[in-house]
Subunit: 500 residues, 2 copies
């Protein structure tokens, strides 16, 4: 009476792990095309490719992800057979630091390198938020000159235009961590001789500045002082700055002027008395001079003191590329698309390995976000890449059909034979539709005897073709032509060009 | 007296984990170029790209690696926050089976897909044996027709020629697992009604056939019988076949004839009385007919009963592409380069998920081995991709130098400014050398005033330039020219073309 348990096979679930996804057809081609456009620019600027493995030792990766205690928090990590921890890289910068430390005697100095590839984050997955995504980085290691930073900013601008973001639809914003420290010093919450003092207050100030877009100046001002109650009634504690301190910070945030020179002049006033602040302003001035001389004006590159995002391990200039056109968010409200790339100067990453300070600066482009932006703007090349489908009217003449696709391919036309069960011709047409095929080729016994074939413009006939199930109906469509077999390649080419 | 322990900072080791490596510059470009050539062919044949994540659930991956008991043997695996096991993919076929099971209602049927990317194996690393390597696969899922297998074999041949393996330097060999089972049946060690019987014997037979190249017919014959003592005195147990049984297997292994038709005729004799064997021969005949009709003759594609490698989960035809030219092994002996791609038909992989049999067939190209082969033959495009280096004679005129590189880049010439410390001019030249730069550009104050620049042919001057440390010596080199500043782009172009 008991059920036969042997029949109860436990089958694996056919799904990618949570937070991971598959990319099909056009999605892969679009991304590859964009990566090619980006790396062409990097390559032209003299950057060399580097491909590091997906796996690094946890000790080499370090703990640069926020607030992680265990090695397998934030990253995907496991122990190898010797109990050593290994992990999937969470960015492309940590592996670069490891490579530079390991091979510094063999690499050119300075070393310009680019890298493309997926990175992994063991974070909570959410809608549109994945645990594997692409980055496309360029860094210059081994030189402190601001010319390296200026070059990276100019290159970032060129790159965005190369992938199809029009001038005016993006802006590269530049700030400097040293200026920010200078302002903090003037405001009395940073002491270069005792950098750990007021760390909590500075954290609150940073996060407040970062929220300027969302909260407006008044909201930020509240957070600099006692704190702020939001619309839901929740209270966020403030930095507790006195009015005169808060005004200094507010003045910094609003220091942006019409030209880089004017902004720098204003910043110079604000950080008066702080050596580190003045050094930062000097760096910004040098970057502005170099990029100005190259013609990268305010329509492409601005000094903007409100950029604080990604200040993590940065030690000098920081950059951010933002798309400025508006899109509709999920609630139908207009908002700017926002940041698609960021970076800056980090002089301490290689030091972890070697003990010696090695200056470095670079950017990381969030390729998936940039693709989403171009898709949003309808600027991706959506031209059909479906193959010409040669249908099978007579299954014993497969070799004839294969000869046709070989001829088409040799002429540079993507083409394939239908390889499903040919009995139901309607399925062949449905298949061609699913393949987004521009042209179908038909050669039955009668056509073969007469030395002709039928070719069908599917782009034109797509709508009309719905519901067709027999060869006779198909032939009655206006987009279909009978041609000489010997003209196959030429006529298919014509038909595709007509559609394109 | 105790040493200050605070100064003893424990630094991370700058090294990739054991079995992993980095790829620099030309290595990355060469591989990308090859991957582009391969996927162009796949694309032309109507295959669509698919990119699955590096990470899959262990249950979805299944246990297709040999002899693994724990989930983290053979693969790199870890538990996520819900204690579920995840792992890095060990090939591109298992993820395809998962994707097809998951999305089968939305995918075209049949589904031709290609995939490119790294896979990971938690195996012992060794010289030239890495734990991360690239595969480049093409598979057709959802059709049992041998036309799909024939297409894959033809495409594999086209692909090898596209990447630069000349016809005659490779061969695609085809066998069929059913024929092998038929031979085993005739020899009395396979009973279709009781497939688990004689499994151990069949395993020994398979491994023996696989060693034909190395042991010769006599060595294989010994392993089919009582066993074999090798040169070191070690004894390997045999399958224990009687003479007449062993002769059947030997006859199979040596069944290859001058044409596919003749080989198939010979195989038909050998499997007489075995239904499964005859079905296998019929499949081989169909593949041979279809590929013959397409002009893929014995110089490209042969039926070869000695191919057994990779018979793992295969259920019908199996293919292998071998490079036939000779290379010298580590001991200086000539040997054939060997296999660079393999595949076959596997009808059970999707069934694991859905319970329904889904026929599928495909190949996997070992990209890194193929690259090694082309490097060995000197057939990789080694043309210099180093940038033109604009040297810095006057650090205050960085903007001038950047203008030069921008002009060069806009003309399609890879170019960069020297960004190291410009004080020592010799270092700039060493740098240009290290960068494999074709041309260096020099503009000092005098040149600037006179409206000229110096350009130096580094390809020509490379040998002579060794040891040069001052600008004056540099100028005396014959490969150097003074040109008008306004002619920079045109003259650099000329110099590069002269070098190429």
């Amino acid at each position: 009476m008991a059920k036969n348990k042997k029949n109860k096979v436990k089958r694996p679930r056919a799904a990618a792990p949570r937070g991971f996804r598959d990319y099909f057809g056009a999605e892969v081609l679009e991304r590859n095309r964009m990566l090619g456009q980006i790396t062409d620019i990097y390559q032209a600027y003299g950057f060399d490719p580097l491909e590091t493995p997906a796996v690094e030792t946890v000790e080499a990766l370090g703990k640069f992800l926020p607030d992680v205690d265990r090695p397998n928090e934030g990253v995907f990590a496991w122990q190898d057979e010797d109990d050593a921890w290994m992990a999937l890289r969470y960015d492309l910068t940590a592996p670069l630091a490891r490579v530079y430390a390991q091979f510094r005697n063999d690499l050119p100095s300075p070393y310009r390198r680019y890298a493309v590839g997926p990175v992994w984050r063991n974070e909570k997955a959410g809608p549109g938020r994945f645990r594997q995504f692409y980055q496309c980085d360029a860094d210059t290691v081994g030189t402190p000159t601001m010319a390296a930073d200026a070059e990276i900013c100019a290159m970032l601008s060129d790159t965005l235009e190369a992938v199809g973001i029009a001038r005016g639809d993006y802006i590269v914003r530049v700030n400097n961590r040293k200026v920010l420290n200078g302002v903090m010093q003037v405001a009395g919450i940073f002491d270069p001789s005792e950098p750990s003092k007021f760390e909590a207050e500075r954290g609150i100030v940073l996060r407040a500045i970062d929220k300027l877009d969302r909260l407006g100046p008044q909201g930020v001002r509240a957070l600099l002082g006692e704190g702020r109650k939001d619309d839901s009634g929740d209270f966020t504690g403030g930095a507790g700055l006195a009015d005169e301190q808060a005004e200094i910070v507010m003045g910094f945030m609003e220091a942006k002027r019409d030209s880089g020179a004017a902004t720098c002049a204003r910043l110079r006033e604000l950080v008066r008395g702080s050596d580190i602040g003045l050094a930062g302003v000097q760096e910004l001035e040098t970057i502005a001079e170099l990029t100005d001389a190259q013609g990268y004006g305010a329509d492409r590159l601005v000094i903007d003191p409100s950029v604080v995002r990604g200040l993590g391990y940065y030690t000098g200039p920081v950059y951010e590329a933002e798309l400025t056109f508006e899109i509709l968010d999920k609630k139908g409200r207009k908002r700017q698309f926002g940041s698609v790339a960021g970076g800056g100067r980090y002089d301490d990453l290689v030091k972890r390995f070697t003990g010696q300070e090695v200056p470095a600066t670079g950017i990381s482009i969030g390729v998936d976000r940039l693709l989403a932006a171009l898709r949003e703007k309808g600027r991706l090349d959506n031209s059909s890449t479906g193959p010409v489908v040669v249908t099978v009217m007579d299954r014993d003449r497969m070799a004839d059909y294969q000869t046709m696709v070989a001829e088409l391919r040799n002429a540079g036309i993507r083409a394939e034979v239908y390889l499903g069960n040919p009995k139901n011709f309607g399925n062949q047409l449905k298949y061609a539709d699913a393949r987004n095929s521009p042209v179908a080729v038909i050669e039955g016994g009668n056509e073969k005897d007469a030395g002709v074939v039928q070719i069908k413009d599917l782009a034109l006939g797509k709508v009309l073709a719905a519901g067709i199930t027999s060869n006779e109906e198909w032939k009655s469509q206006p987009a279909q032509m009978e041609i000489k077999r010997s003209d196959l390649v030429a006529e298919v080419k014509k038909m595709i060009n007509r559609a394109g």
